[in-house]
Amino acid sequence: MSGAVSGGPLLSVRDARVGFGTVRGLLRAVDGVSFDLQAGRTLGVVGESGSGKSVLVRSLIGLVGGGSGAVVGGQVLLEGQDLRGLSAAGLREVLGRDIGIVFQDPMTSLNPVMKIGRQIGEGLQLNRGLDGAAAARRAVELLAEVGIPEPERRAVQYPHELSGGMRQRVAIAIAIACEPKLLIADEPTTALDVTVQRQILDLLQREQRQRGMAMILITHDLGVAAGRADDIMVMYAGRAVEMATTREIFRGPRMPYTEALLRSLPRLSDVAHTRLSAIPGRPPDLARRGMGCAFAPRCTYRSDRCETEEPALTRDGARGFACFNPLAAGSRVVA
């Protein structure tokens, strides 16, 4: 997405789709999303709840499906290899070796009845062929690396004996244990307090830079994305509605949804009682999507065409937006 870097993208997603069969019909949670991610870069995936950002990323690595009745489509190429074409065992090998993932709530993402050291070492034994003792040693090193004091003692403790921030550090240690090429962070700080959030984001960024990993950072918080992502993909109602570098998104959004979202945020730089420009209405019910742009009912720029035809993501150089009436390039939102 940010020009041609030598060697092609690390991850290339084409027309990803995820649907869930519900009583009321097919719910298109992810509806034809494509993007590229270069090695060493961070892509921020931004959207509200129900925008499909988490489902999209989980579906890429085969963590959606099975018993949930999900229908998954599209192509996912990791270093040119199509993950969707792999056998279950083949996909597990790629997952364990090349991809690490950090979930939102470290309370639920760690096994409550398994010692921390073992949870970190498990992947090393399986994917890197370490024996038990070596894996345990490496787990302690990793704990030290993610900033946990007294790593030897912590390694033999259970998750509930640690605070929330510590647990998320453990989750990061698990994710980076096998030296992945791609790190997926799914709302990694939403469950944490703002001062702890800051430390965890710093840690993620440091590890990503040191190891040259690519990172997908999923968040609903535009502030988090602004400070940490190189590029941003904005999602609304299961589709990618705008894609650009972080600066372009914040300085000159082309898609009215992005602009409206940025305008509606209260900011520390505003004086008290500044009236916020609220977005009217609410996000659509995905099981009852009509024709046309999903944002049209809430959009101040809509035209007749918006209600009958769904805009495709159009490219303008390196950036893209899905809108028939885009804002002029270079329009500034922030005062």
């Binding site: 963590l63 018993g67 993932i101 096994n111 009845v113 992947g123 399986l126 259970y158 989750a171 698990i174």
Partner: protein
């Protein structure tokens, strides 16, 4: 260990209440022992004499604490019928009941755990639906009915196993097994359904947790995720239910011992009830209730050992 002390205290209070309640039920309710023993033709003088001999003329609470005192030293009194010490009678019959319940539990767990694990591999799949239907059917089968159907199938129709009667282990190991297998099956085939449903539902809940997603994301194969990550955190309700269901199992044992004519504690109790042998009933019911309370106490302890979170909360303070 503060928590443990409180639990032991609670246990003692419950045991006291349980024995007292038993005593009240058995003694307040109508039915004079002396008449039972001497028959309806006895003279009032004879009856009064016997009542004094048995200590029945003293206030009930006094008699209760007398009984409790000797019960604590292992003396549950003597049967009004045949003078046999109650404690000895229970001790003689306990091994049969225990063997029955242990075998039933092994059968139940032996079916329930594999069935639950196989079910959640593909929820809604063929195996899941079949095992769910089987469980539903057995759950609706009263144990006295299942016992009779099993006798009809294996003894009357196929003539493979003895319908009733008991062979002690000392006599013949195989004969003992033959005489115990149908009774154990009767209990086990009903018990597994509850265990399977509980474990299956907890496994399904656990499998939706993020830490299972994380285990899959580590590249672990499905069986490893299931056995190493999902099974243990899903087994806590199972253990609780195992403890609670022992109450049902004891009730079931009473019936099954009756159907298959096994000389266990349940049959002893029934005999006592039919003969209005108060002191025997009092002893047996108190023994059973105390045993049940103790088992549940131990299950609670086991729970704390298995779940580090509980251990952490309870034993740190």
């Amino acid at each position: 260990m503060h928590w443990l002390a409180r639990q032991v205290l609670r246990l003692a209070v419950v045991l006291l209440c349980v024995t007292l309640l038993t005593y009240l039920i058995v003694n307040i309710l109508p039915g004079d022992v002396a008449i039972v023993i001497l028959g309806s033709l006895a003279t009032p003088q004879d009856i009064a004499g016997l009542r004094a001999d048995l200590g029945l003329d003293r206030p009930m609470l006094v008699r209760y604490f007398d009984w409790l005192g000797s019960a604590l030293s292992g003396d549950l009194g003597r049967s009004y019928r045949n003078g046999e010490p109650v404690a000895q009678a229970i001790a003689d019959r306990l091994p049969v009941s225990l063997q029955l319940m242990v075998m039933a539990q092994i059968i139940a767990l032996g079916i329930a755990v594999p069935a639950a694990l196989l079910s959640v591999r593909r929820p809604g799949g063929l195996f899941d639906r079949m095992s769910a239907s089987a469980a539903f059917g057995f759950l609706a089968t009263p144990n006295f009915m299942l016992g009779i159907v099993l006798i009809y199938l294996f003894s009357v129709t196929l003539d493979l196993l003895p319908a009733t009667g008991f062979t002690p282990m000392s006599e013949s190991l195989w004969g003992n097994f033959e005489s115990m297998i149908l009774p154990s099956l009767t209990l086990g085939l009903i018990e597994w359904t509850v265990l399977m449903r509980v474990l299956r539902s907890d496994l399904l809940t656990t499998l939706k947790e993020d830490f299972i997603l994380l285990a899959r994301a580590k590249g672990l194969p499905p069986w490893r995720v299931l056995l190493l990550h999902a099974l243990r955190p899903s087994s806590f309700t199972l253990i609780t239910v195992l403890g609670l269901n022992i109450g049902g199992l004891i009730g079931g044992a009473v019936i099954v011992e009756q159907i298959f004519a096994l000389p266990g504690v349940g049959r002893l109790l029934l005999g006592g009830i039919f003969n209005r042998d108060l002191i025997l009933v009092q002893g047996t019911v108190s023994f059973i209730a105390a045993g049940f309370v103790l088992i549940n106490f131990l299950v609670d302890m086991l729970y704390a050992v298995l779940d580090p979170r509980v251990r952490y909360v309870r034993f740190r303070s």
